[in-house]
């Protein structure tokens, strides 16, 4: 394959990676931005969303698109509700102290993973894509659904941006983000905003899972890698910056894709990892974080 087509493929793959990263990171970024806590269980919520998608898709008759659409509705609701429960019963009682939240959400991660192992089993299961479309280019073929994921990621990000910028709940979240105590003094029910934000973050993880699972599989340990990558994306982007998260996803996804053209897979990963680390070393506040 010539260099041109190879580069094209690398860029397409990079874009898909970026879309997946952005999708998994946006919920984490939201929670991080508004509540200033690291939700280690974010990957587990992602996994749970995929699991619900698998379950729903298996129980809806007709072409795969119906099952997939049903999952797109059901998974965020189920996962979001569970997250709200976690927030109210655990995180709130920890007063959102950063270290305590890390430990507690590691605990939640284990609980959810093991619950999945017990109910779902250890095997990987596929979920059918809502449509099958294969693009045949002169040099290689490509999955149409993967490109759809890129479009969907843009839509989800735009939706989150609209929510933050244009809705009352978005306003409440932004107010709470600036100063929890002032928000409370202004009569905002901070507890409810936090529970809502945490649930929304988890629901976004579930949406990401429903979108991503047709190009991977459901597995009870599937949450670990997305969590790490999403976490990295959020930090590189700059704390809680939606724009930063998007740009970081593009930088990481594309660099990962293009770097993999030149070296063996493992060496590419090493180089890409170090590169991203160095971005932070020389720009510790992230790409779009405020200085100091």
């Amino acid at each position: 394959m010539g260099f041109g087509p190879f580069l094209l493929l690398a860029v397409m793959e990079g874009l898909v990676s970026a879309a997946v990263l952005a999708l998994t990171a946006v919920g984490l970024s939201l929670v991080f931005g508004v509540m200033r806590v690291v939700n280690v269980a974010h990957g587990a919520f992602f996994m749970l969303g995929a699991l619900v998608a698998w379950f729903v898709a298996g129980h809806v008759a007709g072409p795969p698109v119906w099952g997939w659409l049903a999952a797109l509705v059901v998974a965020p609701l189920v996962v979001g509700a569970l997250a709200a429960l976690v927030d109210i019963s655990v995180l709130k009682r920890l007063n959102y102290e950063p270290e305590a939240v890390i430990v507690a959400t590691i605990g939640v991660l284990y609980i959810l993973e093991q619950a999945a192992l017990m109910s779902f089993g250890p095997d990987a299961r596929p979920v059918a894509a809502p449509f099958t479309l294969r693009l045949q280019l002169p040099w290689f073929g490509y999955s149409g659904y993967k490109l759809f994921v890129v479009v969907a990621a843009c839509a989800v990000l735009a939706g989150v941006w609209l929510l933050m910028a244009r809705t009352r709940f978005g306003l409440l979240m932004r107010a709470t983000q600036v100063d929890r105590n002032t928000a409370r003094a202004f009569g905002i029910n901070v507890d409810r905003v936090y529970a809502g934000t945490f649930a929304l973050g988890a629901a976004l993880a579930a949406v990401a899972a429903v979108l991503v699972v047709p190009i991977s599989q459901v597995h009870y340990l599937m949450g670990a890698d997305p969590l790490l990558l999403a976490f990295i994306t959020v930090i590189i982007g700059g704390l809680g910056s939606l724009r930063g998260t998007l740009v970081a996803a593009l930088v990481i996804g594309l660099s990962d894709g293009v770097i993999s053209m030149f070296w063996s897979p493992t060496l590419s990963k090493i180089i890409a990892t170090l590169l991203v680390a160095l971005v932070l070393v020389f720009r510790p506040q992230g790409l779009f974080g405020a200085k100091a």
Partner: protein, 310 residues
């Protein structure tokens, strides 16, 4: 004085335990002690100095391979191997610190995490030498440590106890020293400390390197005592484990990491006998702990019973 007597008494108690425990638990004790060395060093950086690193697996692995490779490839003796592992852990930690300490907080977490991830992949990449994920087994001959046979349970436990005792006493001396007070100062208020004439970068770099020495000797010890080195020990969970041990036992307490390592070990050991989903037990325990004893087991004791504990 009281503090030193107390910790010496703990070491004596451990030695007595080592003598009377049945074989299985005696061996567990050896493992727990080595993990506790690792976590004690981690806690110096995390609990005392406030550096939340997710890169300690790299320092542990540096020590592990720093000892295991020369021993298995060139027939180096176990004792120099142990020393090499110690230095490798410290050197890698210092090198990572030089870059990573330009950042703080969550960025520091991520940068250390990514360096460790790159380290893990590097171990995989050089699998012809390191054995990659499958790892390498050390022969019995390579595990003769200063005349003590590490394939024998008794000497092994003795060495583990010796290493832990050295690590504990060094940590105790450190946190009780003037420098130990500066470590706390970094954790509590870095800007104030700078305006008292301390260079946060150098203090933190020194602590990270010391912490790396602990991780290095623990990794080297783990390889030599138990005869195996593998890429799994360089994985991200080996950065998270010492943090969990510290938090569970009590971050910022000298004995906490030992208590945490022991509690976690037996939590898994006992729960795995009851259910396949034993990690769920771990999960529940973590949530309960953080809800009801947020300062960890020893932190709880210090608040209520022994306020003078370092």
């Amino acid at each position: 004085m009281k503090v030193w007597l107390f910790h010496l008494a703990v070491l004596v108690a451990l030695a007595v335990l080592a003598l009377i425990l049945p074989a299985y638990h005696a061996n567990n004790l050896a493992r727990i002690l080595m993990l506790a060395v690792f976590a004690t060093g981690y806690n110096l950086a995390f609990g005392y100095t406030g550096m939340l690193s997710l890169g300690h697996a790299l320092f542990f692995a540096a020590g592990m391979y720093g000892a295991a490779l020369p021993v298995s490839l060139w027939g180096l003796g176990a004792l120099p191997g142990l020393a090499l592992g110690l230095l490798a852990g410290g050197a890698v930690a210092a090198a990572v610190g030089l870059l990573a300490l330009r950042t703080a907080g969550v960025s520091f977490m991520i940068v250390t995490l990514m360096f460790a991830q790159a380290g893990y992949l590097t171990v995989i990449y050089f699998n012809q030498t390191t054995g990659g994920d499958q790892g390498i087994v050390l022969s019995g001959a390579g595990r003769m440590l200063a005349g003590l046979d590490m394939t024998q349970d008794g000497p092994r436990l003795m060495v583990a106890l010796g290493l832990y005792a050295a690590g504990l006493l060094a940590a105790l001396a450190l946190v009780q020293s003037r420098f130990g007070r500066v470590m706390l100062a970094m954790r509590e208020n870095e800007e104030r400390s700078r305006m008292l004439g301390y260079d946060p970068f150098r203090v933190k770099l020194a602590v990270l390197a010391i912490s790396g020495l602990y991780a290095g000797v623990a990794g080297a010890g783990y390889a030599l005592l138990f005869g195996y080195a593998g890429a799994g020990f360089a994985g991200v969970q080996y950065s998270i484990l010492p943090m969990l041990y510290s938090l569970m036992g009590g971050a910022g307490t000298v004995l906490g990491p030992l208590i945490g390592a022991g509690a976690m070990f037996y939590l898994i050991d006992i729960a795995s006998g009851l259910t396949t989903a034993y990690l769920m037990g771990v999960g529940i325990a973590l949530v309960v702990l953080v809800l009801f004893a947020p300062r960890g087991i020893l932190g709880w004791v210090r608040e209520r019973v022994l306020p003078w504990l370092p």
